[in-house]
Amino acid sequence: MKRHALTGWLLLAPSLLLLGGLVVFPILYNLWLSLFDKHAFMPVQRFVGLQHYVYFAHDAEFWASVQYGVIYAGSTLVLQLLLGVSAALLLNEAFRGRNLLRGIVLFPYMIPTIVAVILWKWLLNDSYGLVNHWLLAAGLVQTPVAWLGKDHIMTSLVITSVWQFFPFVVVTYLARLQTIAPELYEAAKVDGAGAWRRFRHVTLPQTRNVLFVIVLLRSIFMFTKFDTVWLMAGEGGVSRYVRTLPVYAYARSFTYLQAGMGAALAVLMFLMLLAVTAAYFRVLRDEEAVA
């Protein structure tokens, strides 16, 4: 019957070993590595101090990647929220086939990124894609749009990403919507509030906190997104028009084989996220103090 603390530690040991060895240690090693000039495969390394950080401060490619990252994360965030919240509000109403639809809406989020990407590359194909066919048929464009060319690759990437990730917003928002007491809506109805005012004065205040979490998580996830961006544009060609920070860090490490520089970019990425998160918490807290 007695439960020894030692047994507890033993049971926890495999988890701690894995997390310590494969997450915590690499995080610290990454910091260390960012101070060295190191080849990705060869054992040679040379201490350079903060030189990499100084380099990136003047590196046009770095600033471009930050800019692309902000454009990508910002636009996908807004569109995911609009689509996801509307879908959740709809799926919170009672109608036939609702449960089936709740399942189907999750599909884009469940499938591997590679599938989402090849699927949208096919839909957006310039010669045979369905999207161009419909745009031409509807007379909206005169010539096929080169969706995957340099002018539109960012738009195509945003479309693909919003489609892939809006179900996350649906599920999290819907989970909170379901816990709002029906009495609140009934009281608002008695007061003669229409649908928009019920949303504005009941739903929105009630779901404030979950929206906060969704915005925070989605911005972090989108700003650190690698696979969708990399698969959509590859390494050469149009890739430089969507080269976000994670892709740039990957290219530095595994294409140019400059592991130290890649590590420095990872640290910078982390610091930016930290700063934005802290600022976000602060703004929210001040807002709450005012309200």
């Binding site: 995080i27 990124t113 599938v115 489609w163 179900p167």
Partner: protein, 272 residues
């Protein structure tokens, strides 16, 4: 009446957004090559053929990638569930100094995106001598699923009254038997939810597979299919067939246990 019309209209739009691209993938995969490029495009294939699937299996290494993905994903699920069930049990049933702080720290490791540690991770795996092995993939996926699974199972174990296992042990059952026959069956929905998350993460991952695996015969589906896509002029029918083949296990798995998944999802959210 207008309200109902709006509801069903909205539902239809949502159905098209969620399902149409996947239906179009299936439709393309089942068409003969002439029909794939026909103008105007046919939404439902006029002629249904499995030719694209035959070429996929006969002329590419798709089956190898598929087998690798199945092996790696299942091994990851097994390892993650064992490790996290032990850990979560320790975090709920044993009292020791710093327990809650450790639980908090574990959650913090969840905040690090793989791309932020992939470089030191790669160097570490290389030094351990397991670069380019399936083991490296299983260990990476297990580690990245652990924080979420530990927290999920912890909340499930919390909900099971301690008295149940104590009663069994008063009746003479060992701790191990009490856990095996009483605690784990009661936490089954949690185990299933954690298992599905783990499976999907391992099945879908691209970054670790890209960095850690170099031999073609060890590649998993996402990287393998990306190679097929980039190899030559795109064979759209065959690529869509590959897409269908990768998607089916996920959706089948998911459909089978959807209600557990929603439950677990509400409990903690998922990464990505």
């Amino acid at each position: 009446m207008r309200r109902r019309l709006a509801l069903y209209g909205g539902g239809l739009v949502l159905l098209v957004i969620g399902a149409f691209p996947l239906a179009w993938m299936l439709s393309t995969a089942l068409k003969p090559s002439g029909e794939i490029f026909a103008t105007p495009p046919t939404l439902v294939p006029k002629v249904v053929t499995l030719e694209n699937f035959r070429r996929l299996f006969a002329e590419t290494s798709f089956l190898t990638y598929f087998t690798n993905s199945v092996a790696v994903s299942l091994a990851t699920v097994l390892l993650t569930l064992s490790v996290s069930a032990l850990g979560a049990y320790a975090l709920t049933r044993f009292v020791f100094a710093g327990r809650e702080r450790i639980a908090g720290l574990i959650l913090m490791t969840y905040m690090f995106a793989p791309i932020m540690i992939i470089i030191p991770f790669y160097i570490l795996v290389k030094q351990l001598g397991i670069v380019n092995t399936r083991l490296a993939l299983v260990l990476s996926y297990t580690t990245f699923c652990l924080p979420f699974c530990l927290w999920l199972l912890r909340s499930f174990f919390h909900a099971i009254p301690l008295e149940l296992e104590e009663a069994a042990m008063v009746d003479g059952a060992s701790l191990r038997r009490a856990v095996w026959h009483i605690v784990l069956p009661l936490a089954l929905p949690g185990l299933i939810a954690a298992g599905i998350f783990t499976f999907i993460l391992a099945w879908n991952d691209f970054l670790f597979a890209l960095v850690l695996i170099t031999s073609d015969e060890l590649k998993t589906l996402p990287v393998g299919v990306n190679d097929l896509f980039n190899a030559t002029i795109v064979d759209w029918g065959m690529i869509m067939a590959a897409g269908v083949m990768i998607t089916v296990p996920t959706i089948a798995f998911f459909a089978a246990v959807q209600r557990y998944l929603i439950q677990g999802w509400g409990a903690g959210g998922v990464k990505g």
